[in-house]
């Protein structure tokens, strides 16, 4: 088609959805606001600073995992290993102190180093061996899972006070907010800024949209992918640290659903699983949607089976909106 005016015209019924396609963040935000309004009418306890602070606190771990997941998905990949990398880092960070008497800060560094190693391995296997990320991270998921259990099967309760920092709170007015919540929001702002306003962020989108075109445009796609998987793994390590702060223990049974929960947040946030299109702040909104529904339904006295059911419905709705708004493009 030679001119814009005659570009393949859309049937009318998807025009609204298409306009959503231009501002994909609006859908999740609208859903979040509607959910809040609904729960405010259902429970007089929903609309309080303390409750919102609690919801934020409850999405801190998945929200932080989902930062890395978003980066990986933007490159057209997927990371199934994230929850187990988090679990491994959190038992190491606590266990090296509790069982081996290591300095707690050094233990955190070791935990983070293990995350970096996993990230590099994920990225390297994908980039240089050419394995699909699904397979690579399914493998590293199992490896991390077993490493956790080889290291410990017992919950580590002797957590150094330094590691509890992110579970500690400060007050705004009468509302207590954890430092973990602040840390997560800061991480989102950093990720948002990097993706939006730096050459590295552009490279992530470009590689996700079309790796070959990115290479021929002068981008070292291999380096970009390895960096993305590594930075993602660092975010899982930070999630591990936040988890320890929140739970007050090093828990070897944690993280097994971290992959699906973080993918849920990413999808609810309007990011395409095909790569190259999506918004990091959408992921935060997606994580909050899950948190708000879980909290709101609990306040209404509705059991957890229904909470999971509704999450499922929301994911399908979000994916449908995304699909319909980009169909035929």
């Amino acid at each position: 088609m030679s001119t814009v005016a005659t570009t393949s015209p859309a049937p009318p019924r998807t025009d609204f959805l298409r306009s959503l396609g231009s501002f994909p963040i609006l859908g999740p935000v609208a859903a979040l606001i509607l959910a809040c309004i609904f729960f405010a009418t259902q429970s007089d306890r929903f609309l309080s600073g303390a409750n919102f602070s609690l919801i934020l606190q409850q999405v801190v771990v998945v929200g932080t995992l989902a930062i890395g997941q978003t980066l990986v998905i933007l490159t057209g990949g997927i990371d199934l290993s994230n929850g187990m990398i988090m679990a491994l880092s959190s038992v190491l960070m606590t266990g090296l102190y509790a069982n081996s008497g290591m300095d707690p800060y050094l233990a955190v560094l070791v935990g983070m180093a293990v995350c970096v190693a996993f990230g590099v391995v994920n990225g390297w296997l994908h980039t240089f061996i050419g394995l699909p990320p699904f397979i690579v991270t399914l493998g590293t998921y199992s490896i991390a899972y077993s490493l956790v259990r080889i290291y410990t099967t017992a919950t580590i309760t002797d957590v150094p006070p330094a590691l509890n920092f992110f579970g500690d709170t400060f007050r705004i007015g009468s509302t207590a907010i954890t430092y973990g919540t602040v840390a997560m929001i800061v991480l989102y702002v950093i990720a948002w800024f990097v993706l939006r306003s730096t050459p590295a962020g552009r490279a992530v989108y470009a590689v996700g949209d079309n790796p070959e075109a990115a290479r021929l445009a002068g981008i070292h796609t291999g380096r970009v992918l390895i960096a993305v998987y590594t930075i993602a793994a660092i975010s899982y390590g930070i999630a591990g640290l936040l988890l320890v702060g929140r739970m007050g223990v090093g828990d070897p049974n944690t993280g097994q659903n971290g992959n699906l929960e973080s993918i849920t947040a990413v999808v609810l946030g309007g990011t395409s699983l095909l790569g190259g299109r999506g918004y990091i702040m959408g992921t935060l909104v997606g994580a909050l949607i899950v948190g708000v529904f879980r909290n709101g339904l609990q306040l209404m006295g509705i059991g957890s089976n229904y909470q999971v059911l509704i999450t499922g419905v929301l994911v399908i709705l979000a994916a449908s909106v995304d699909y319909l708004s980009h169909r035929g493009k």
């Binding site: 030679s2 001119t3 814009v4």
Partner: protein, 507 residues
């Protein structure tokens, strides 16, 4: 009916009268008519956006018409979906083939209608019948080969065989030549002519006037969704068709080349790539357009990808007299070399990203200060490119996936003009682009050379090579077999080298 004046060998198969189609806000077709006879090749000609695709989608049942009527062998018919079209005997081969890539040739030919013996598929019959169909097309392809292993030309033959197997009486071919190289084209022509002799009516869509003159009996021209004229090909000249199609003359398409060649920009000696390129040496001067001709597979693309650092190779190269050893596209870009790939969508564009991002992706450092992309600088650069290259887009935030081929190509050019490109390599720069945009791209190329940019242009369209190049290298089987100066070049001379007449001393 204007077309009814044409005398054809067979009886009238299809008549479309006064067809109209409106999409929200756009009248895509208005009062369009088309008549096709048995054993006739009827060309459908028009620029991109002229309505050709919409018309054939109505014919194949993909769209419903809003106005007009369709007659099949004189009787009014309703085509409500692809099944109706198929039941009448209408098959369409789109540019993107509808083949199962993991399936075999025979499985594809019989897709959805495999012969049965009791409960079991009768593979013996399916394979034998496939063989027979392929033989009819002169195709030497194994019926058991997986489609993904076939060349594009061979896949096209499988599509045609599939259509024949469905007792097709009218075959619609949407730009069948767009995906083929020069060598495969002649083969396609033979196939089309043999189908014609079997009494099949053919609607042949193409941009390339040469093909229409080589193949078609009649031609119907569309412009901006309206019917312009139907002519007997024997009665018209090329210039007449161009005028009907775009409203101006063909000779205006190629700019007059008057740039004096400057000093040597790129010097390539003994470029080698195992099995693909053997000892190729050539040079390009500043301000010069160097054409690379040759049939598909002669190694042209492989040469330029090596020069761009995209593939491993050995060579001695210099850029502006300094040693040049690109180990990645990034190295090449840093040295001022740029490549516009043949496969625009697959290797050039970021379809889901916008014009601005596509434009500045390689120049991003130049609009970055302190690690942060400066929006104002970026916008200024993009707006300048949109203005200078006359890119038709509502805004810099428009997604390139929604743009026409010509505008997409301009976005890629904008990308390379945003970095300081000294040598621009263009692989099939106007493939799939309508005549209007072509002229603009030629204009841009001409202007670039005036600024001292050297251009390498690979093209399978001989008129383009002859119209644009200052010097032409002809390649065959991975080597340069001839070098022709502008004055000495002709289609005959190029073809002689390309298909292997006597060997000439390479430049």
């Amino acid at each position: 009916m204007r077309a009814a004046t044409a005398e054809g060998p067979g009886k009238v198969l299809l008549e479309m009268k006064g067809i109209g189609k409106t999409f929200p806000g756009v009248k895509a077709l208005q009062g369009v008519s088309l008549t096709v006879r048995e054993g006739q090749v009827h060309a459908l000609l028009g620029e991109n956006g002229a309505g050709k695709s919409t018309l054939i989608k109505i014919l194949s049942g993909a769209y419903a018409k809003d106005e007009g009527e369709i007659l099949w062998e004189g009787k009014p018919v309703a085509i409500r979906g692809p099944e109706d079209a198929q039941a009448l005997g209408i098959s369409t081969i789109y540019q993107e083939f509808n083949l199962g890539r993991q399936l075999t040739v025979a499985e594809n030919i019989f897709l959805g209608q495999l012969p049965r013996k009791g409960f079991r598929v009768d593979w013996k019959t399916a394979r034998a019948r496939s063989r027979e169909l392929l033989d009819r097309l002169g195709a030497r392809i194994s019926v058991d080969a997986k489609v993904e292993r076939l060349s594009v030309a061979e896949q096209q033959l499988v599509e045609i065989a599939k259509a024949l197997n469905r007792k097709t009486r009218l075959l619609v071919m949407d730009e069948p030549s767009a995906v083929l190289g020069e060598g495969d084209l002649e083969r396609l022509f033979e196939v089309v002519r043999s189908l014609q002799q079997q009494g099949i009516g053919i609607v042949y869509i193409s941009h390339r006037l040469v093909e229409i003159f080589a193949l078609a009996d009649e031609v119907t021209v569309l412009k901006d969704g309206r019917y312009v004229a139907t002519k007997r090909v024997a009665d018209v000249q090329m210039d007449d068709l161009v005028r009907l199609m775009i409203g101006r003359d063909l000779k205006d398409v190629y700019p007059r080349r008057a740039t004096p060649a400057g000093p040597v920009l790129l010097e390539v000696k003994n470029l080698r790539r195992p099995k693909l390129v053997h000892d190729v040496s050539f040079h390009v001067r500043a301000g010069e357009i160097v054409g690379f001709s040759g049939i598909t597979g002669s190694g042209r693309t492989e040469v330029v990808r090596a020069v761009f650092g995209a593939d491993p190779h050995t060579a001695e190269m210099t850029m502006e007299g300094r040693p040049y050893r690109p180990r990645s596209p990034k190295d090449a870009i840093r040295s001022g070399v740029a490549l516009v790939t043949e496969d625009r969508k697959g290797q050039g564009l970021f379809l889901k990203l916008n014009v601005a991002v596509n434009t500045t992706i390689s120049a991003i450092r130049s609009v970055t200060r302190g690690g942060v992309i400066r929006r104002a600088k970026e916008s200024a650069l993009v707006e300048k490119m949109i203005r200078d290259l006359r890119i038709k887009t509502p805004s810099a935030r428009f997604l390139v996936v929604n743009m026409s081929g010509g505008n997409q190509q301009k976005v890629i050019l904008a990308r390379w003009l945003s970095v300081h490109t000294k040598l621009l390599i263009m692989d099939e720069p106007t493939r799939g682009i309508d005549v209007g945009s072509k002229a603009e791209i030629y204009q841009i190329m001409d202007e670039l050379t005036k600024r001292g940019v050297g251009i390498i242009m690979i093209s399978s369209e001989l008129p383009e090579v002859l119209g644009m190049s200052d010097r032409i290298y002809v390649m065959r089987e991975g080597t340069i077999v001839g070098e022709l100066a502008r004055g000495a070049a002709s289609e005959e001379a190029i073809m002689k080298y390309a298909v292997g007449g006597e060997l000439a001393a390479a430049g």
